[in-house]
């Protein structure tokens, strides 16, 4: 028999779920208003704010920057992170036990401290362009995801299969791509998605790295909200939510989310 939580606990949980979801519903409602002001319930339904934001040059170009930075930043992080995860799982005796903690440092250092330090110590010091700065910052943000999530899927991989392939004559590199990689594919995809979404939403690091003319969408939104208070931000928020839902749905369809999130 399933134990039911106390009625008070269930009521309180209902409140918590409402607390989590209602604000998102309210944004959806506010984005559909046909009026000029942010109100809920909306005054008449229209999609005017959606067409408005899709014509805003600064939203579109910053969104493109965000996509480029998130894609390549996460890509670089996987490129350096997957070998690390592999080495940590495969050669437990070859590396000291504390070694893996190096790759969790980006989680420990408050993002805002990292962004400021990167700006001061690297970007200004070597006079790097904004897009390079953003790529470096977002690579660092994504590295813990690459190492941790790929590492988790490697921890269930039986390296005997790899040794078997090598003893049958396959080169180590071919073995990695034909034996190891297919087995950790879902881990790599999960790492990519989580890091990508984190990067796409990042404020605290990008804040220090964006410059004149080049900005990421969250920074552009932040600046916009501080100056104007109209339904356009609600519309952008809704578009971002649908993008997130679409990404998750595609992964769910092609892989099964439960398999990926394992």
């Amino acid at each position: 028999m399933q134990r039911k939580p106390h009625i008070l606990v269930r009521l309180l949980a209902g409140f918590v779920f409402a607390f989590l979801l209602l604000p998102l519903v309210i944004i959806l409602g506010a984005s559909l208003t046909s009026g000029t002001f942010l109100t809920f319930p909306p005054q008449g339904l229209s999609l005017r704010w959606f067409s408005f934001v899709l014509q805003q040059e600064n939203f579109i170009s910053s969104f493109q920057t965000s996509l480029i930075v998130a894609t390549f930043g996460t890509g670089f992080a996987l490129l350096v992170g997957v070998p690390v995860a592999y080495a940590l799982a495969r050669f437990r005796n070859g590396l000291p036990g504390w070694y893996s903690s190096i790759f969790f440092l980006p989680v420990l250092v408050p993002e805002i401290v990292f962004g400021f330090s990167l700006l001061k110590g690297v970007i200004v010091e070597y006079d790097l362009p904004v897009i390079t700065a953003l790529l470096i910052g977002h690579t660092i943000i994504a590295i813990p995801y690459a190492v941790r999530i790929v590492g988790a899927s490697l921890s269930t991989f039986d390296f005997a299969a790899e040794e078997a392939a090598i003893s049958l004559g396959a080169s180590p590199i071919k073995t990695f791509f034909t034996v190891v990689l297919p087995n950790i594919r879902s881990g790599i995809i999960a790492a990519f998605i989580l890091a990508f979404i984190t990067s796409l939403n990042d404020v605290s690091v990008s804040l220090f790295l964006t410059g004149p003319g080049i900005s990421t969408l969250p920074i552009e939104l932040f600046t916009y909200v501080e100056q104007h208070f109209d339904p356009s931000v609600a519309a952008v928020s809704v578009l971002l939510m649908f993008l997130t839902i679409a990404v998750i749905a595609i992964v769910e369809r092609s892989l099964g989310l439960s398999k990926v999130m394992r």
Binding site: V16, F37, P83, R90, I112, N201, S237
Partner: protein, 278 residues
């Protein structure tokens, strides 16, 4: 030859990743640390100046207070929601899980903005209360300690739920049944069985929420504003508005120190409650 490669292979594999983290994270942050060392004679001069300013001191204390309260509320919310999720099956469970995780996938800007719509001068609460005739003047709900707290709790409750689901799921139901059949009240079961078993999850969740609150710049600015400034906003202001990099360095070190203290305290607590896991 082959053996040599075998021995250096692990190092070769971790080298690029290590260099990236060292060059772009560790060294710059160490640079920030060393930037706070004062001139010979008084190495702590910058800290003395920083803490001598009563406004800075107030912001530090406010940051700690708000982060602590937000942590406690998020953990309570997370505990309640997680304990219902782990006792639910099938489709409803999926729905509840998505409801808990989805806010996590939207950014801090979107989530803080939602509360601006709710709490603002012409926000939902004010316009509802005014149209009901309860108030004549809009209440100041935004840019208060309350709005900042709500924003942080909203930001981090999903993390608390996820941290607590694992531990709550692993509690054997027969243990709960046993203590109930031995005469424990529902509250007694909670206090003497469930809560102690959930401590590892509470600690992990607590650290995530507290350290997250220290870094929540967007929420701090959009919901706390100028009147409820906390450390991340102060760091940004010193670094990018007044270009007082000495002060910004100092704030950065204070923030890292707070993070480290919390993590060490959490590890100590975890070890006390569970000597095996330590």
């Amino acid at each position: 030859m082959k053996r040599q490669l075998g021995r250096s292979l692990p190092l070769l594999l971790v080298l690029p990743g290590t260099l990236v983290v060292l060059a772009f994270l560790v060294l710059p942050v160490l640079g920030t640390f060393s930037g706070t060392i004062g001139p010979a004679g008084n190495r702590l001069a910058l800290y003395e100046t920083f803490f001598a300013n009563s406004n800075n001191m107030r912001i530090v204390l406010r940051t700690i207070r708000i982060a602590l309260i937000a942590t406690v509320i998020s953990l309570v919310f997370g505990f309640v929601a997680a304990s219902v999720i782990v006792r639910t099956n099938g489709f409803l469970r999926q729905i509840l899980l998505v409801a808990s995780v989805f806010p996590l996938l939207t950014g801090a800007i979107v989530r803080s903005f939602a509360w601006m719509v709710i709490l603002g001068r012409n926000g939902i609460i004010n316009s509802t209360l005014m149209s009901l005739g309860v108030i004549d003047q809009p209440l100041t709900l935004l840019f208060t300690e309350g709005s900042l707290m709500i924003g942080l709790v909203y930001l981090f409750t999903p993390l608390a739920i996820l941290s607590l689901m694992g531990v709550l799921e692993s509690i054997d139901e027969s243990v709960l049944d046993a203590s109930a059949s031995l005469g424990a009240t529902p509250f007694g079961v909670f206090r003497q069985v469930t809560l102690p078993l959930a401590i590892p999850g509470l600690i992990v969740g607590g650290v995530l929420v507290f350290t997250g609150s220290l870094a929540a710049f967007a929420t701090a600015r959009l919901l706390g504003g100028e009147s409820q400034k906390i450390l991340p906003a102060l760091l940004h202001e010193k670094a990018m508005v007044s270009f007082d990099w000495d002060a910004a360095n100092t704030i950065a070190v204070v923030m890292v120190a707070l993070t480290v203290v919390v993590i060490v305290a959490a590890q100590y607590t975890a070890r006390r409650f569970n000597p095996v896991a330590g």
